[in-house]
């Protein structure tokens, strides 16, 4: 009969329409609960599956790759605090398909000979295509792909070239975002320490590797990137680009170390940092690029 096909099709749309609301009624008031989220993701779900970004986000899987970062020792490491893992061997710069990595190899000021650490390290994130080759081919586990995909900024000319300071992150950050992979790599290195450190320790007659902190102890990463968080943490340094004054940022971290919220407002603690959820997302002034003054 003419029209049955259309009716059948409309039936499908109507079914979708109804099932959209079934879960809403069933879980009235508990929409954002983890249990509801898990139900939505499961095979049993018939209703809506969407996640309401940015109020909800899907945590990205371990292998997810975004603009790379450089691994350093933890800042509270008793022996090698903040030491770069990168030996400036240049393999990442050579394998990079769009050639967005620029490294200045460090030299020893006394002898003038190259030493195994980078003096400068830049990644032009406009060019980076997130292919992950640098992390894949790095022989020292010193460059890894990040999971923080919220990198929007107001300035194209300087903010998108990440320098060594911005790229460097502690090893515990990597352990926290990719615990399984980090553990596998540790096993392959035969210890927590950097391979060169292990060699040096062996030479000095020490145990090749120390027992390092595991991901369990890691605090939440510092790069919590909700607009409110960014605004609060960086408010004093707002108009400046990446390499912006380290002092205010440090102050913010110091302030965050206390247990009391810094002021009135809806404050929550994320790791070491206090975040004002009520703070309006501040619109940063565009900084001028080089040559625009």
């Amino acid at each position: 009969m003419f029209g049955t096909g259309i009716l059948k099709g409309l039936g499908v749309t109507f079914r979708h329409f109804v099932t959209t609301f079934i879960d809403d009624i069933k879980y009235l008031g508990k929409k954002r609960d983890l249990e509801v989220f898990q139900h939505k993701q499961s095979l049993a779900n018939v209703g809506l599956v969407t996640v309401e970004y940015p109020d909800e986000k899907l945590a990205v899987p371990e292998r997810f790759r975004f603009v790379p970062f450089l691994v350093t020792y933890n800042q509270d490491d008793p022996e090698y605090a903040g030491k770069d893992w990168c030996t400036s061997c240049g393999i990442c710069a050579k394998v990079c398909p769009p050639q967005c990595i620029w490294i200045v190899r460090g030299t020893d000021p006394n002898t003038g000979r190259p030493k195994p650490e980078p003096e400068q390290f830049y990644i032009d994130t406009d060019i980076c295509m997130n292919c992950g080759y640098c992390a894949e081919y790095c022989p020292f586990d010193a460059i890894k792909m990040d999971h923080n995909y919220e990198l929007a900024s107001y300035d194209r000319t300087t903010a998108h070239i990440h320098d060594k300071k911005r790229l460097s992150k502690e090893i515990r950050y990597w352990q926290s975002i990719a615990p399984t992979t980090a553990a596998e790599e540790m096993e392959a290195r035969k210890g927590y320490d950097h391979t060169d450190v292990q060699k040096a320790r062996k030479k000095a007659g020490l145990t090749p590797s120390r027992v390092g902190p595991t991901s369990d102890k890691a605090p939440e990463p510092e790069v919590v990137a909700a607009p409110a968080a960014a605004a609060t943490a960086e408010a004093p340094a707002a108009p400046v680009a990446v390499q912006a004054s380290p002092a205010p940022a440090d102050k913010a971290v110091e302030a965050a170390a206390t247990d009391k919220p810094p002021g009135p407002g809806n404050w929550v603690k994320r790791g070491k940092r206090w975040i004002n959820l009520d703070a309006p997302a501040e619109v940063k002034k565009r900084s001028r690029g080089p040559g625009e003054e």
Partner: protein, 610 residues
């Protein structure tokens, strides 16, 4: 045509020998090391090509491309790959050589109409002149472009060095932006005597003169008609990207249509020739960005063929490759069907139903390869990493919701439940709909012989009743072990293209169901059997790797001079070549149908424009 085949038993190399015997002055074997096929004297090319098509049955010109051998004999070479359709088998490779200064090769459009766009591309990028071509003008670049960029002596605006890796990056790297060395406004060169102010694009000028625009048409009774020139696109939601159709209308009816493209052109091939061999892999993702796993596979196959015995692909790697390729086919067809319905006016409801299921597959890609769409997963000799034990995440950002699922269970759910459910729902939702039937039946008909002659590929070809699928015609990977049917439909109209895609998804599910136990069986086995070095050198020679991508035959023609970078890297893009048939299919239909016909071809502009 196939009944005229005199020597159907001869395979490609047998035909090459036969050609040398039959045309002793015109044809000789290509004896360079690593090369195959025959070299044909270009004065006799038309005659020999006619014989190749009619007498030996190679009726389908798959790929036509040019190579610039600057410093390696200083000649231009045009390379043709012809197949027997639907019989299958290895392609016959034939070449014609010409001088670099005034390169001229007779056009093969009369023998293989599918050579049309590809010859225009070779003219555009290499400056090879094809006498006899009916419409020889630039296709990817605009008329105000100076030079022919694929020539080896042509340098781009941000040119830094012949090959990557660039010396400036390490050990004395000091970061700079390309713009600093080539400021905006100074990075463009125009041909001598080119005046931008008085510029009229050739396509427009040609269309206008055909329509007698620019003359006093009111005074001439011959022109008092309803003819109208309409530009559909380049910025139009129906064109799936920045793509333009110049349409000549008589009332509502289309009299002629010419696709205009190149708005997304970035000279992928030139970038590819600067890159190292494996550095090209992530760039292939960006061709047909809806099916990047398939793009990876094609490129990996082409280079593995070149590397020969240096790589041994482990069985598990092959299993994973097929798993990925078939999942990609499903994502692509879901997208194609969803957006075909969009083009028909069912705005976004069916598309979103399709995207919902596609999203689960992308989640799996993300957990395995690291990215939803830009997968960069295949390597020469295997794959990047084995499937993860669990698809799990750690919260990093504010409001992150964490998932933790067993990978095999997730895959099982996906393949046995979610995807079939979604296909059945689409079937119930759309297949019987009278609106779809009345919009699709008899629209954009492409007869089988026309489809073959115009080198149409993929679902477009199979919907015209030609049972040709590279997975069966020239099997690669582990497809010979797997059980599946090549889907065809007889009518060659829009509805058949929809049904072919729907049924291909079902066949893909059938393959995936056979893959699941293989995955369990090979658990823990090696997934990589190539070189782990980052500076792979391929032995000198040529190779043509092809896969049946969701959109059609995707081929990579690579030439190595023995170095660490491809000498020539060419992509036979199905989206691009399938457009050859657009003008034919659209003729006589209404404007609204053209949008649907374009949706039925299923193009992605990243691949069309390269």
């Amino acid at each position: 045509m196939s009944d005229q085949v005199q020597n159907p038993v001869l395979d490609a190399s047998g035909v090459a020998d036969a050609l040398v015997q039959r045309f002793p002055d015109a044809v000789k074997k290509d004896t360079r090391k690593g090369y195959e096929g025959v070299i044909i004297d270009h004065h006799k090319l038309l005659e020999v090509a006619g014989a190749i098509r009619d007498d030996y049955g190679f009726n389908y010109l798959s790929s036509l491309t040019a190579v610039d051998y600057l410093g390696m004999g200083d000649h231009m070479e045009v390379v043709y790959h012809a197949f027997r359709v639907p019989t299958g088998g290895a392609p016959l490779v034939f070449k014609a050589q010409t001088d670099r200064v005034e390169p001229t090769i007779p056009s093969l459009v009369k023998v293989y109409p599918g050579a049309d766009f590809q010859e225009r591309e070779a003219y555009d990028l290499y400056g090879i002149y094809f006498p006899g071509h009916p419409n020889l003008k630039r296709i990817l670049l605009w008329d105000g472009f100076e030079g022919h960029p694929m020539r080896k002596d042509w340098k781009e605006a941000y040119y830094e060095q012949e090959h990557k890796p660039f010396d400036s990056r390490w050990p004395g790297g000091n970061v700079f932006r390309g713009e600093e060395h080539n400021p905006f406004g100074h990075n463009v060169r125009y041909p001598a005597g080119f005046n931008l102010d008085n510029f009229t694009p050739q396509t427009e000028a040609q269309f206008q003169s055909e329509m007698s625009l620019g003359v006093d048409i009111m005074g001439d009774p011959a022109f008092t008609n309803e003819r109208l020139l309409v530009n559909l696109g380049p910025h139009h939601p129906s064109t799936h990207g920045v793509f333009r159709m110049m349409v000549q209308l008589n009332g509502e009816t289309i009299e002629s249509l010419e696709p205009v493209m190149g708005y997304l052109h970035r000279n992928h091939e030139k970038i590819g020739e600067r890159n190292t061999w494996f550095g090209n892999m992530p760039f292939t993702d960006r061709l047909d960005y809806l099916s990047s796993m398939g793009n990876n596979l094609g490129y990996a196959l082409a280079v593995e063929k070149l590397l020969g015995s240096q790589v041994k692909i482990p069985y598990r790697a092959e299993v994973i490759r097929v798993l990925m390729a078939e999942l990609t086919r499903i994502t692509n067809h879901l997208w194609a069907i969803g957006f075909l319905l969009n083009d028909l006016g069912a705005f976004f409801t069916p598309a979103l139903y399709c995207i919902q299921t596609r999203e689960y597959i992308l989640d799996f890609f993300e957990a395995t390869a690291g990215s939803r769409m830009m997968c960069n997963y295949m390597r020469f000799g295997g794959v990047f990493k084995d499937l993860p034990e669990r698809i799990r995440a750690e919260a990093l950002l504010l409001n992150d919701k964490v998932r933790d699922m067993d990978t095999m269970q997730y895959l099982k759910d996906l393949i046995t439940e979610r995807i079939p459910r979604s296909i059945d729902e689409l079937d119930e939702y759309l297949s019987d709909s009278e609106i779809i039937a009345s919009r699709c039946i008899g629209v954009g008909v492409l007869p089988a012989d026309v489809a073959i002659a115009n080198s149409a590929a993929g679902p477009l070809l199979r919907a015209s009743g030609v049972p040709y699928d590279l997975r069966r015609a020239l099997p690669y990977s582990i497809y010979p072990e797997l059980e599946f049917d090549v889907v065809t439909r007889p009518n060659g109209d829009l509805l058949d293209r929809y049904f072919v895609r729907l049924d291909e998804m079902r066949e893909s599910v059938r393959i995936l169901k056979q893959i699941l136990p293989l995955l369990e069986k090979t658990k823990g086995e090696s997934i990589f059997g190539g070189k782990t070095s980052y500076s792979i050198k391929a032995p000198a020679g040529e190779s043509y790797g092809m896969v049946e991508n969701p959109k059609g035959e995707l081929g990579y023609y690579v030439v190595s001079d023995g170095g660490g970078n491809p000498w020539r890297y060419h992509v036979r893009a199905p989206s691009f070549i399938n457009l050859t048939t657009l003008g034919l299919m659209a003729k006589g239909h209404k404007v609204a149908d053209v949008v649907a016909i374009l949706g039925g071809i299923d193009i992605v502009l990243g691949e069309t424009d390269r």
